[in-house]
Symmetry: C2
Subunit: 710 residues, 2 copies
Amino acid sequence: MKNSARKAVRELINDAKRIVIEDVNPAVDDGRFAAKHIIGDIIEVSADVFMDTHDQLAVNHLWRTNDSDQWEASHMIAVGNDRWVGRRPLQEIGLYEFVIESWYDRFGTYKNHLIKKIDVGINVDVEIEEGFLLIKETVSELKKVKRLDIEFERKEAENSHVSNLANLQKLAKVLFKIKTSTCYLTPDEVKPAETLLKQLNPYSDQQRASLIVLLADFTAALMEVSSTREFLTRSQIFPLRVERRAAEFSSWYEMFPRSQSGDPNRHGTFEDVIKRLPAISAMGFDTIYFPPIHPIGKNNRKGKNNSLTAEPTDPGSPYAIGSDEGGHDAIHPELGTWDDFRRMRDEAQVLGLEIALDFAIQCAPDHPWLRDHPEWFNWRPDGTVKYSENPPKKYQDIVGVNFYAPKATPELWIALRDIVLLWASEGVRVFRVDNPHTKPLPFWEWLINDVQEQFSDTIFLSEAFTTPKMMYRLAKVGFTQSYTYFTWRNNKQEITEYLTHLLTGDATQFFRPHFFVNTPDINPFYLQTKGREGFIVRAVVAATMSGLWGVSSGFEICESAAIPDKEEFINSEKYEIRAWDWSSPDNIINEISILNRIRKEQPSLQTHLGLTFHFADNNNVLFYSKSGKPLPGQPIDSLILVAVNLEPQYAQETSLEIPLYMLGLDDHVEVQVHDLVSDAHFNWYGKWQRARLDPQHYLFVIWKVTPVTV
Amino acid sequence: MKNSARKAVRELINDAKRIVIEDVNPAVDDGRFAAKHIIGDIIEVSADVFMDTHDQLAVNHLWRTNDSDQWEASHMIAVGNDRWVGRRPLQEIGLYEFVIESWYDRFGTYKNHLIKKIDVGINVDVEIEEGFLLIKETVSELKKVKRLDIEFERKEAENSHVSNLANLQKLAKVLFKIKTSTCYLTPDEVKPAETLLKQLNPYSDQQRASLIVLLADFTAALMEVSSTREFLTRSQIFPLRVERRAAEFSSWYEMFPRSQSGDPNRHGTFEDVIKRLPAISAMGFDTIYFPPIHPIGKNNRKGKNNSLTAEPTDPGSPYAIGSDEGGHDAIHPELGTWDDFRRMRDEAQVLGLEIALDFAIQCAPDHPWLRDHPEWFNWRPDGTVKYSENPPKKYQDIVGVNFYAPKATPELWIALRDIVLLWASEGVRVFRVDNPHTKPLPFWEWLINDVQEQFSDTIFLSEAFTTPKMMYRLAKVGFTQSYTYFTWRNNKQEITEYLTHLLTGDATQFFRPHFFVNTPDINPFYLQTKGREGFIVRAVVAATMSGLWGVSSGFEICESAAIPDKEEFINSEKYEIRAWDWSSPDNIINEISILNRIRKEQPSLQTHLGLTFHFADNNNVLFYSKSGKPLPGQPIDSLILVAVNLEPQYAQETSLEIPLYMLGLDDHVEVQVHDLVSDAHFNWYGKWQRARLDPQHYLFVIWKVTPVTV
């Protein structure tokens, strides 16, 4: 074999990793995207780590935050079958990164073998000599090390390097002296492994002296930090985004500010919105979301019910953004001034309400950009601009931008980002993004990252009613939350299958489902046909299943007047100013307030995670539990149980199989129950319980179950 | 914003991929390792491919084999929810590579929109102009293209480029002429989409002439090959190894050649083995596997029953390889010469038997390498060599090599590979590798790849009784097949759980389980306690569940004499020469022959894939079906059903739920049944059938079920 071939094999050997690190968790697409967590979470990191032989490995997880290049290392623990785990509390908002590293623990392996031999009491003279040599070799390696791997080491590494060397040299000297006479380290320096001391009795004084040094925790710790870390392997870097609580837990109320005057003939203002805030806050909502509040296009403006020609008094769709009065960076003059906006924002904040704005990228034909930046749009051979279309449908009041037009990169991208930054700087940190799936994924990945670098608490809700893969990908590239198919999942099988889909596999790591019961665009058949009871049922299911739920104004008074055979509202607020009677006798304001109150009290209801479906023998009764996000290493100590009547025009009776096993309890024991709606307290005996969910009485129950305290 | 920042954003936009290609299948660890297939398989490639907008994409899969750098491209088809599929027959042994690519299909999108507009009969004058411009733009882009992307294109790309350009220029001219007068292409050149012709009636002659050209398949095809492939995205390269049939389907018989003399006092020879071959072939085995056949160490040789001191007549363990008579590249003199070995190999081949050898890397203390290459071994401070050990156990007759000793890389690695190459060049293409999990993974990845580059039909069986992750990783780095935990999975729950584990997730792509019913090291309690019936049951389960099964010599005469309370043989052939009475009345030679005959006849039994468990209401009856490897796009047209009595000392009665649904049949229909053991034919009515599995009659059934032919 030629020398060059020999050299190639040697290089291959040196490059190949002897230790395997795989199946790292949390990880989204093998680290391509960030897993998502909430500040205050304690997360468990895990990985399969192994190599050939039965020898010992050392495994660390190393962390750094976005604004630091200093890695903090902690040990991971083997939990069987090559799986290693470590934990870390997440205490800052922002982007974290972590890495798993492992190396061959030569001294640990040596010590482990030595202990096994001492256990059976065999002669270990040669083993003592081997330990002495290991320490001496480590000393000489430590002397050779010129430059530590600074990227991954602590800054004080240089100093500890010097003191490790001194300590090891001392250890080596001690062991050398033991070989010739009898000598101990001071008791402070060497804490022998107590349980082993007895087993050392059969050995000679000199052997015991050496063994105490070799088996001391002090020695092991020193050898570990001084090790050259043979076969060191590091995983790639895995990102992890830590967000504020509202990313996962929030209750949204959507409204058109222009419909808040109480008079269909008067355009509502921010001042009118301020008057509505106490009622919304009293229902327990914490986010108030407005469709676009910018000037509305006058060219090709849509009339009532989406008609092609508008009357002079028609206000147009707020999604047709921009006119001679300004674009995305302006406020519709009829709503008020910037100062009015700021006052409303501040009044809302006092009441615990946060403003969420719509980010809808399309432009009305008279948006200033068509004049100032024609190069961002598509033009047709006849000189007209290309309207948005979904052939054969055309949307004559809006024009889409062309993200990849030659002169749009990067100017258009930057202009759009700057709009978000403008509103963020005005205190808006929640954006509901209109149809993000029709804009490029790289655009969102860049924009969200860029905005969150400046305003780390910014939340983006994706309004992507599209294929599941695209919905998930938008979440991966950075969207904090997403609209879902929830609005069309009504019966037991549909809801069970859909939630199981959301709770299975990687999706739990990056996808946070926002359950809107209705929107200005979606007036579901279920609500059109099930009356007031249907509204209550949908509110219960949304509010208890996900940490994120929302209603569109009118839901609380059971508004569902529809265009016949369509899931669309008739006389939709999208195209006209409406006035509502909030005191309508059919309202469900009390029920909504109860739901939001319970959500605030019960952490298990503040996330969609920890949802489990349970057996109810009536197919019209949906029965499930919430146990919250799993706390690493801790058992579940209480369960929220929800049972709800999905066909609420009729009473439903059912047996419920209470999941006592989830509390670690036997099927027949007694448990404490707290009815969170009525505040009643009582006890149950055994796992089979009956319930009657009756429109005359109550349609749903929310119980908190805990073991009986002794 | 500074120009430099602007430039950075533009570069980011250009680098980012607009089109997503994810979840590619087949893929092992996202393409890090090769998926495994067998020559003759037709595989289905699939991926999620999508981008923003509802516009159309084009998706290809491209293939090349190891020895070609030329990629062959084929279209993939969208099957819903962003999933795309393509198929390819695998016709050569070796390493394949494939890539998925996608680009924005601008002309396809245009044509699709145009058709939708024609459907509703609206004016399309501007659309015709847009189509004309698209073709003109493509012409001018085609003129600009200097150098095609040669890595991924056909060699004749240059020529087709010229002819595409000419054809497109002609098309553009035709369309230009239509604008000014009326002109058609020849009917041969443009085949209009027939079904559309009628819908063109409302349009003027001139419009129709243009539309016919724009909608022609010829135009679409030309535009596709001429496209500059906007937003072209390519996946990484995914490897795929295609192996010969025996990688997946083989029946192994293990024997110690030295025990084939029929006389415990005479060392058997290859000549004795030749005499045994007809009997082994008659049982239907096709692979005959020998523990090491090399010279056996004389120092520290083990005596009978693994005793520390050997009598002068004791032959030693063949796993203590090497003595003054030679090492891994030599033949134990008492077995015969190289010529004897070759004659045996050839005689075996005539009978359809292939020789498999053991590759065990450890050395006896007197292996020539300890003298010639002391630098490959570990030495202790007292000057002795470090024996293999699993503290406190020591293996005094073997010494392990140190793969990472400074002077062992690469010399030791090359020496070991050359041993495999030596035997491969002697016609041995199947190696059973001893304890591969105690040797470095990078070593195996390199060695297997290197050997298969020279001898592509080489098969490596991994004898890794270790953690599941390590077993899987060995399969990923290249081992063709693996020993499993099958030997210790006996009752219905154990077998069901284990097979479900092997058949779930990625493992099916790279892990081929070899079901040995016993080995010289494993004498399972089940076989020790269930008598002859137990042997039959285990043979049935192994031979019908996996394409790969094996027995160790003695199994056919139900040998299970054990060291008390251990799963070890007493007087094991590992440490002494044995003689056996093959005509023992308790033998199960007939049953084994029947099983191997049915395996050869039924392709569904030639793989572990396509196994499904079914309901039998008796927990001592295991009931399952085999449907073979799924053929892309084809329904299952027959099922092999196996029912077997797992507590075979007693008769078991059971109801069986026949999975008629897998054949696409209703629960109550009539089906044809062929009893593959007795060759009886009969019909069943409906899915519920009864069976009695009785030690007095038969313990198992193997039926082939097909729909009734009309």
